[in-house]
């Protein structure tokens, strides 16, 4: 008989988060490793919400009306993009090169 998956088991995934330019300075950090609950289908937005809940500069810089950009594994990404174990997620202001 096939057994039903044990949905009570919480699987934690680990994501490397990188802060760049003005956000690195505002957060006083180049980056950190965050643990997320894989059962909640984590996305870039889940990370933003977790960081925003810290308050202070985190809540201010990541407020919904602020222009923030993201990259997952070195490719530009939307907030809705799913993240998985081992991903590198960069959070930064709109780019100003050239």
């Amino acid at each position: 008989m096939a057994r039903m998956p044990d949905t009570s088991l919480s699987i934690r995934i680990s994501v490397r988060v990188i802060y760049l330019a003005r956000l690195r300075e505002a957060f006083g950090s180049t980056g950190e490793t965050l643990a997320l609950d894989d059962n909640n289908a984590p996305t870039v937005e889940s990370i933003v919400r977790a960081l925003r809940d810290r308050g202070g500069a985190w809540a201010h810089e990541l407020a919904p009306d602020r222009a923030v950009r993201f990259a997952v594994n070195h490719r530009l990404a939307q907030r809705t993009q799913a993240v998985t174990d081992g991903d590198e997620v960069a959070i930064f202001p709109p780019v100003t090169g050239g």
Binding site: I18, L20, A21, R22, A67, A71, H74, R75, L76, A90, F92, P93, P94, V95, T96, G97, G98
Partner: protein, 148 residues
Amino acid sequence: MTVRVQTADFDIGAEIARLREGHRSVGAIASFIGTVRDVNDASTITGLTLEHYPGMTEAALEEIVAEARGRFDIRDALVIHRVGALAPGDQIVLVAVTSAHRGMAFDACEFIMDALKTRAPFWKKERLPDGERWVEARASDDEAARRW
């Protein structure tokens, strides 16, 4: 080598000579150089520091050049972007494109710059006489990139 991110300056003559070398079918070369201004938003600028995202920067530029190759009938393209501390008058970025005829070279050069301005992970921090400030992205750059 299609894209380079470097602290060192570049010589447009030498770079274009290398890009053209051995390609006699090339009839047009379009280039763009961006330089550091000494004024921005009515403030005196004494210098710039350019930060980037190592690991992503080259990949983002390569992708933009690949997209330009797909959209325009060009022979070759080169992008050089400097990082680190720069002074007013310094060169920041070079885009050079070779093609058979001028139209494609002009268009591809402008497309690459517009895409770079909105998709390549570089950030400018300006030095002013009384401190520093991060440059804010311009809505006009988003509009320029949307044209394509």
